[in-house]
Amino acid sequence: MDFRTRFPLRLWRPNLDDEVDAELDFHLEMRTRELMRAGVPEADARREAVARFGDLRRARRECRAIGQQREQRMRSAQYLSELWQDAAFALRQMIATPAFTLIAVATLALGIGATTAIFSVVNAVVLRPLPVPDPGRLVSVTEVWRDADQGAVSAGNFVDMMGEQSAFDAATASTTVSFTLARDEGAERVAGVKATGGFFKTYGVNAAFGRVFGPEDDEPGQDQVVVLSHKYWIRQFGGETGVLGKQITLDARPYTIIGVMPASFDFTSDAEDLWVPIAFTRERKAMHDEHYLSVAARLKDGVTIEQAQQQLDRIAADLRTRFPKDDADRGFRVSTMMSAFIGDYGHRLIVLLGAVGFVLLIACANVSNLLLARGAARSRELAVRSALGAGQGRLVRQLFTESVVLGLVSALAGIALAWVCIGILIARAPQGVPRLDQAGIDGTALAFAVVLAVVCSIVFGLVPAWRTARADINSTLKEGIRGAGSRGAKDVVRSILIGAEVALALVLLVGAGLLIRSAIATARVAPGFDPQGVYSARFSLPQAKYPQPDVLLQAVTAIQEGVSNVPGVRRAAVASNVPGAGTFSNGLVPEGEAPVLANVRQSMARFVSPGYFETMGIPILKGRDFTPADRAGSQLVMIVNQSLAKRLWPNADPIGRRVLGSAPESDNPAKTAKIVIGIVPDLHFAGPAAPTDLEFYQPLAQLDQTGWGWTRRTLFVVARTTADPSSLGPPVRRVISDVDPGIPLFSERTMEQRMAATLDTSRFNTMLLVVLGIIGLILAAVGIYGVVSYFASQQTSEIGIRMALGASRASVLKLVVWQAAVPVLTGVLAGAACAAFASRVLASQLIGVRPTDPATFATVAAVLLVVALCAALLPARRAAGLSPTIALQS
């Protein structure tokens, strides 16, 4: 047939729209010609051709649509295949240059791994919401006194607040209690919570099985029901469902198990074991001055924290007028439950995350430098590719793919490193960081590491890719490797990179330096007592068995005497509080001043037995210690610390003067006035890093029912020994069980351990920041070394000429080192400016040193400069050591 024609192959292919038009036009043209050959006149032939074609526009439209689809598919297929080629090529390259790969991957993996580890901790502790429905609506309500957050709320204030508020769907007041659980094997401590009936409604969580308690159980007489936590149920009852209806004995009272909570309700691994109703009595509901409750509430839909705060402000104003004695200067504060739950760990962790981010940036700058150096070495390869038709965009894409592959490989190594780091973090971290043990490499952490790797690849790959792809092909091919690229501009980029590394490292080191200085200052603080050689432990006396002051005192005296007789014990005592453990306060007024709030000295109360000061190594500065003669019924006595003495009587001898307590005793001031019999030094009670307080001591023997209530019948036994204090555990436990096997002994520590524990968090923080600072310093030094080596290698022939012309070794050294000096010095200055700004975030963690401490800044800058000089000197010495002939030949 005459239409059959062989078509020569051509590369030409028009764009899609033209292609369709051309093809259809060709068809019409051919048809017209054929008709004309058959004798049809041209005009008719053309008409006939169009008519026979049918709907021309529709055909065109359909063809274009199908064509477009096809083109798109081919484009993405091509893109993918190129991507795959690039990735495979990148991997081959990485294998072919193992030294480069190892350094780059190790550097990045260090950065990504450390950042991922800290992130997963931040995520577990700070970011992850509480595992309850709608956690954003959970708030914490605290009492403020003269604008200082006091935390705990009194029962009266809670009940009255609940009566008037309309901002919350539910609210609950609770207090943690250390219950004595009677068991066949002896008494055991369990961590419990006593809460009002709205507790579970507030958190919005129901029992896994059985039921939770509600308002109907929260009444005296109805309250002997207990809800178990999942972990306690597993630990104590082996997860057996038959526990419902069983009884357990807490503080000598029987409670019926009514429900078990789901595992998700164990917010932290050291959270409470069980919950019982608090069942306020009518008297308790009227008490406004004992502040011991934690209040949680659930905001109503559509009510903001600010609105709730405004409402509680109005209620507080009302309470102040109704209870002028108890509620003067008091108010409420509403804050999110998360912030209350996390405390100041959030702030510390975010600071750490920032610090580790700096390390990552330094790592990126280093890898960027490495890639720049390799880019120079590879410029021939890229020029050849470019000459063979690879577009600039294509080349940049190839280089980017290589960066991303490098980043992802590093992410793999980094994730492994993070996994190890998290394990170390959890093991070494101070106790009490909420949810820390939930940190791990989960989906979020994995995603974080991968996103981080990709972002980093873009950061460190951008400059080298742009530089390399922009290099002039012709000159590169002509001149070979040595002439590659535009040297001047590249040197500026390198200089900026090391300047930035130095600045970042300086900020890190300033942070670490400030924390170290603070730790040194803290270590110098004299705690006011001698913690060495002192054993301490807590015990509690169940109310059901020890209801009255006289029986309580009997048990306390028996325990004190028993422990005093343990071999090796020089002195033993019992106290309501010891340094490093909790505290409570009371307001004092000196006799002669009106018992109004303006005159009240809010002071920390400690109730102690005779011999406490001697046991703790606290010198009596003036006056005398308590004696057994200071007992119930005799003259009430008190020992005050120096600060309180000064605050009570600034210009007079306090010994023999009388002090009145604020409410409730002040109803009958004459009867409850106490005579000051001694003065002791101020103690750093909450640890050496904490400030001192106004403190007073009263003999346990003179405590009334209210005073014993404050102690919650939980006391410390302390003993000074000539032997190892940690060896006192077994004999003290024997003494306690001889007095009463129903008294549990717990929280056994030496006083040195207690004081050290108060510094755990800051010590851990300091250690982490120091480690990060050192890593940053090392990375920056490696970066400087690399860049100076590069500069020196670029200048080999120049150095050779200078040396041939008689330049001394020293002048060559100076020449090479000086090139690094400008960026390093600029980096130090810029870093110091940043650090002066950034160190403010540490202000709350610093003791005895200001965030802008000049000595720290100067020391850190000096350290950095010395390290930078060493890093620059190594390659410079090599350059200066070359013989001129070799230098000139190369």
Partner: protein, 110 residues
């Protein structure tokens, strides 16, 4: 033209095109003319429906298109069959033969 042959068209156009280009590369007009001649124009295929079919078949990978120069010295797009197209043709032909045999057995003799 009878309605019945329009219905038949739908499924048969693609095998016919494959059959045509199996003999060698053809441009669209040549395929259209071959369809008219080879089938005695029984199907009376509109030229307008031929091209979307060609594009669709190219997208499916049965035929491939190349631009070249026609016998008139003009640029023209020619289609050739691919390996996948040949497999398809074999399969469809076998299918058609089975179908035709089955229907014939029922319908014939009239």
């Amino acid at each position: 033209m009878a309605e019945s042959s329009r219905e038949l068209l739908h499924g048969t156009l693609e095998p016919l095109i494959l059959k045509c280009v199996a003999q060698g590369p053809r441009h669209g007009y040549a395929i259209a003319r071959w369809l008219e001649d080879a089938t005695g124009d029984v199907l009376h295929i509109e030229d307008g429906s031929l091209y979307p079919a060609l594009y669709r078949m190219e997208e499916r990978g049965w035929i491939a298109a190349e631009w070249g120069t026609s016998e008139l010295g003009r640029k023209a797009k020619a289609y050739r069959i691919t390996a996948a197209g040949r497999r398809r043709l074999t399969a469809v032909t076998a299918e058609w033969a089975r179908f035709a045999a089955a229907i014939s057995k029922v319908l014939l003799p009239v």
